[in-house]
C-alpha cells in the first residue's frame, strides 16, 4: 500500500517561562492510503500537538525542533508558510472537535463551504454552488440547497459536524485529520458520523488520522492504533492485536478502564496516578511511576521499541524478557 504520510522522530517543543519543553518526544508513524490510524491517549499526552505539527498550525510558542514529516514524498517541516498553505485544506484537511465553535457564526453554511473552493480552485460561481450542494448531499444532509442558506446556529450539532466534514472534503484531500470529531456529539450521532467518515474514506481513498480517547471509537473505525503516553508512542499495532493482545502496561490500563455494560459486577480500573507535567523530569521510562510492572531497569533507562509481530511494537522493557525467553525457548527445543 502506498504510504501517504511518514513521520519520523518528531519532536515538538513549546517555549515557556521554564524554558523549552518538549510536548511530543520523538514520535514516528506512517499513514497509508485508504487506512485509518487512530491516535489514542489521555488528555494532554501530545495527540493534538502531533496532528497540529503535521498541519503546521502549532501555536505561536510551539515549534518542531527535530524530525521530519514526509507527505506524499515531500518534506513538510522545511516548507514555508505560503507553501504549507497550499497543502492545507487542499490535500490535507482537518476536522475539529467542537462543531459548535468551528463554524463562523456570522456567515451562512454556503459561504463557508465555498471558502476552501475560493482558496484552492478557480471554479466559477455556479460551479461552486453545484459543488457545495454535491458536498452537502455527500455527507448525508437532506435538502442541501436549503442548508446552504442557513446560519450555523440554525443547525443541530450532528448537522454542523457534517457540514464541517463537507468543508474538509471540499478539495478532495488525500489525508484527513480528525481531532476528536465525535467527542462533542451524542452517541447515536457519533455512530452516524463515524460510519460516514468510514464510507467517505473508502469512496475517496483518503488516509485518515483520527485522534480520540474513546476506545469504542477506535474499535469502530481504526485499521491501526497508536497509543501515546506523555509525548511518546508506547504501542502501535493493528486494531485487532491491540484489543486482543495489548502488550504495553499502559494500553492494558486504558482497555481496563473502558466501562463494560454487559457485566454488572464489573468495576472500572483506573490507571493510578496522573499524567506527568511537561516539565517533570522522569528518568527511564516515562510511565514507570504509574506502572504496576515497573522494574529497577525502568527507572534508569528508557526502553526502545520492541517488535512483537510484523506491525506490532511496544515500548516496554517487559518485552525484552519475553523476547529473550522466546529466544531461549526456541534455542532449547
Amino acid at each position: 500500500m502506498e504510504t501517504l504520510l511518514d513521520v519520523n522522530n518528531l519532536v515538538t517543543s513549546f517555549r515557556t517561562a521554564d524554558g523549552k519543553l518538549p510536548a511530543v518526544r520523538g514520535v514516528s508513524f506512517s499513514v497509508n492510503k485508504g487506512e485509518t490510524l487512530c491516535i489514542v491517549g489521555e488528555s494532554g499526552c501530545g495527540k493534538s500537538i502531533t496532528t497540529l505539527s503535521v498541519m503546521g498550525l502549532l501555536p505561536d510558542n510551539g515549534e518542531i525542533t527535530e524530525g521530519s514529516i514526509y507527505f506524499q514524498g515531500e518534506e513538510l517541516t522545511k516548507k514555508s508558510d505560503d507553501q504549507m498553505r497550499k497543502h492545507r485544506g487542499n490535500d490535507i484537511s482537518m476536522i475539529f472537535q467542537e462543531p459548535m465553535t468551528a463554524l463562523n457564526p456570522v456567515f451562512t453554511v454556503g459561504y463557508q463551504i465555498k471558502e476552501p473552493l475560493n482558496l484552492h480552485t478557480k471554479l466559477g460561481k455556479k460551479e461552486k454552488k453545484i459543488r457545495a450542494i454535491e458536498l452537502l448531499s455527500q455527507v448525508g444532509l437532506s435538502n442541501p440547497e436549503k442548508v446552504l442558506k442557513k446560519y450555523p446556529h440554525e443547525l443541530s450539532g450532528g448537522m454542523r459536524q457534517r457540514v464541517m466534514i463537507a468543508i474538509a472534503l471540499a478539495c478532495n484531500p488525500s489525508l484527513l485529520i480528525a481531532d476528536e470529531p465525535t467527542t462533542a456529539l451524542d452517541v447515536t450521532i457519533q455512530a452516524q458520523i463515524l460510519d460516514l467518515m468510514d464510507d467517505l474514506k473508502d469512496d475517496l481513498g483518503m488516509g485518515v488520522m483520527m485522534v480520540t480517547h474513546d476506545m469504542g471509537v477506535v474499535a469502530e473505525v481504526a485499521d491501526r492504533v497508536m497509543v501515546m503516553y506523555a509525548g511518546h508512542v508506547v504501542e502501535t499495532g493493528k486494531v485487532e492485536e491491540i484489543f486482543k493482545r495489548p502488550q504495553h502496561p499502559y494500553t492494558k490500563g486504558l482497555l481496563a478502564s473502558v466501562p463494560n455494560v454487559d457485566d454488572e459486577g464489573h468495576r472500572l480500573e483506573a490507571i493510578p496516578g496522573s499524567l506527568p507535567n511537561l516539565n517533570e523530569k522522569i528518568t527511564g521510562c516515562r510511565f514507570h511511576p504509574r506502572c504496576p510492572f515497573a522494574m529497577d531497569k525502568c527507572k534508569v533507562d528508557a526502553p526502545p521499541h520492541f517488535r512483537i509481530s510484523d506491525k506490532h511494537q511496544s515500548k516496554c522493557w517487559l518485552h525484552e524478557e519475553v523476547d529473550s525467553h522466546e529466544y531461549q525457548h526456541k534455542a532449547y527445543s
Binding site: 498550525l57 492545507r88 475539529f96 465553535t101 457564526p105 456570522v106 476552501p116 482558496l119
Partner: protein, 302 residues
C-alpha cells in the same frame, strides 16, 4: 414551460436570499425602535440629514449674504423666523448650512478615524509581535487630552475645516484601535479561525473576511457615539477660531461670533447652541440604543 419554471424558482431563491440578509437588519431595527429615546434621537438625526442634503431648499436666504439694514433682528421677525445676526444674515439659513458642515466633518473624521483605528486594532490584536509596539503608540496618543491634541495638530497644519477633520480623526484612532483589538483578541481564539487556517487561508484573508465581520457590532456603536463627539469638537474648535473661518456658517463659529451680542441679541448664541446640543444628544442616544439592540445578551424581545 420548463423555462418559465426555472425562472420562477430562481426568482424565489433570490427573494429568499434577500429576506435572509434583511432579517438581521430588521431585527436590530425593531429592537432599536422599541427604545423611545433612540427613536427620538433617530428623528433628530434624520431631520439633520434632510436639512443638510437639501440645504438650499430649506434655507430662505443666502447664509453669507449680508443685509446690514436688517441686522440683529430678534426671533419671530418678519421673513426671518429665527432672526438675523449682527451683519443681517438669516440665522435659520446659517443653521441649515451649518448642519451640512457638522455632518460632513462628523462623517469625515469618524470615517478616517475608523479606517486608522480598525487597521491598527486588527493588526495589533491578531499579530502578537506588533501588539506591544502599536499599543504603546496608542497609549502615547491617549496621553494627550483630546482637544489639546486636536489643537496641536491644527497648530501644525494651519486652521481650516479639512485640518479639523484630520485632527479629530487622529484623536479617534486610539479609542477605536483599543475597541477593535479587544474584539479581535477574543475572536482569534475561536475554533473557526483555526479551522479557517486549516483550510489554508492567509492571515490577511482571515483578518478581513472572517475576523472583521465578527466585530462590526462594537464598531457601529463606537462610530455613532463618536459622531456626537466629533460634531461637538468641531464646534469647540471653531468656537476657538481654529476651525471654520468666517464667513462660513458653522455652529461653533456662530456662537463665537454671537458672544459679543449676548445681551442685546441672545438668540445668536442660544439657537446654534440648541442645535449642537440636540444633535449631540441624538447621536449619543442612538448609539446607546444601538448598543442594546446589537447585544445578543439583551433580550428585548421577551
Amino acid at each position: 414551460m420548463a423555462d418559465s419554471n426555472t425562472l420562477t424558482s430562481e426568482q424565489v431563491y433570490a427573494n429568499k436570499k434577500e429576506s435572509k440578509k434583511e432579517k438581521m437588519i430588521v431585527k436590530t431595527a425593531k429592537r432599536l425602535l422599541k427604545n423611545k429615546l433612540a427613536v427620538f434621537g433617530l428623528i433628530i438625526i434624520i431631520i439633520q440629514v434632510i436639512l443638510a442634503v437639501f440645504a438650499p431648499l430649506f434655507a430662505t436666504y443666502d447664509p453669507i449674504k449680508q443685509d446690514l439694514t436688517n441686522a440683529e433682528l430678534g426671533i419671530g421677525s418678519d421673513g426671518h423666523w429665527l432672526g438675523t445676526d449682527n451683519y443681517g444674515r438669516d440665522v435659520w439659513s446659517r443653521i441649515v448650512f451649518g448642519a451640512r458642515i457638522s455632518l460632513l466633518v462628523g462623517i469625515g473624521s469618524v470615517g478616517l478615524g475608523l479606517l486608522g483605528g480598525i487597521a491598527l486594532g486588527l493588526v495589533s490584536g491578531y499579530f502578537k509581535k506588533l501588539d506591544g509596539i502599536i499599543m504603546r503608540f496608542v497609549d502615547l496618543l491617549f496621553a494627550f487630552p483630546g482637544i489639546l491634541l486636536a489643537m496641536l495638530i491644527i497648530a501644525m497644519l494651519g486652521t481650516s475645516l479639512v485640518n479639523v477633520v484630520i485632527a479629530i480623526s487622529i484623536w479617534s484612532i486610539p479609542t477605536c484601535a483599543r475597541i477593535v483589538r479587544g474584539s479581535v483578541l477574543s475572536i482569534k481564539k475561536q475554533e473557526y479561525i483555526l479551522a479557517m487556517k486549516s483550510l489554508g487561508a492567509s492571515n490577511f484573508r482571515i483578518l478581513v473576511k472572517h475576523v472583521l465581520p465578527n466585530c462590526t457590532a462594537p464598531i457601529i456603536v463606537f462610530a455613532t457615539m463618536r459622531m456626537a463627539t466629533a460634531i461637538l469638537s468641531t464646534a469647540a474648535l471653531s468656537f476657538l477660531g481654529l476651525g471654520a473661518q468666517p464667513p462660513t456658517a458653522e455652529w461653533g463659529a456662530m456662537i463665537a461670533a454671537g458672544q459679543d451680542f449676548m445681551f442685546t441679541s441672545p438668540h445668536l448664541t442660544i439657537v446654534p447652541g440648541i442645535a449642537i446640543m440636540l444633535v449631540v444628544f441624538a447621536f449619543n442616544v442612538v448609539g446607546d440604543g444601538l448598543r442594546d439592540a446589537l447585544d445578543p445578551n439583551m433580550d428585548l424581545d421577551q
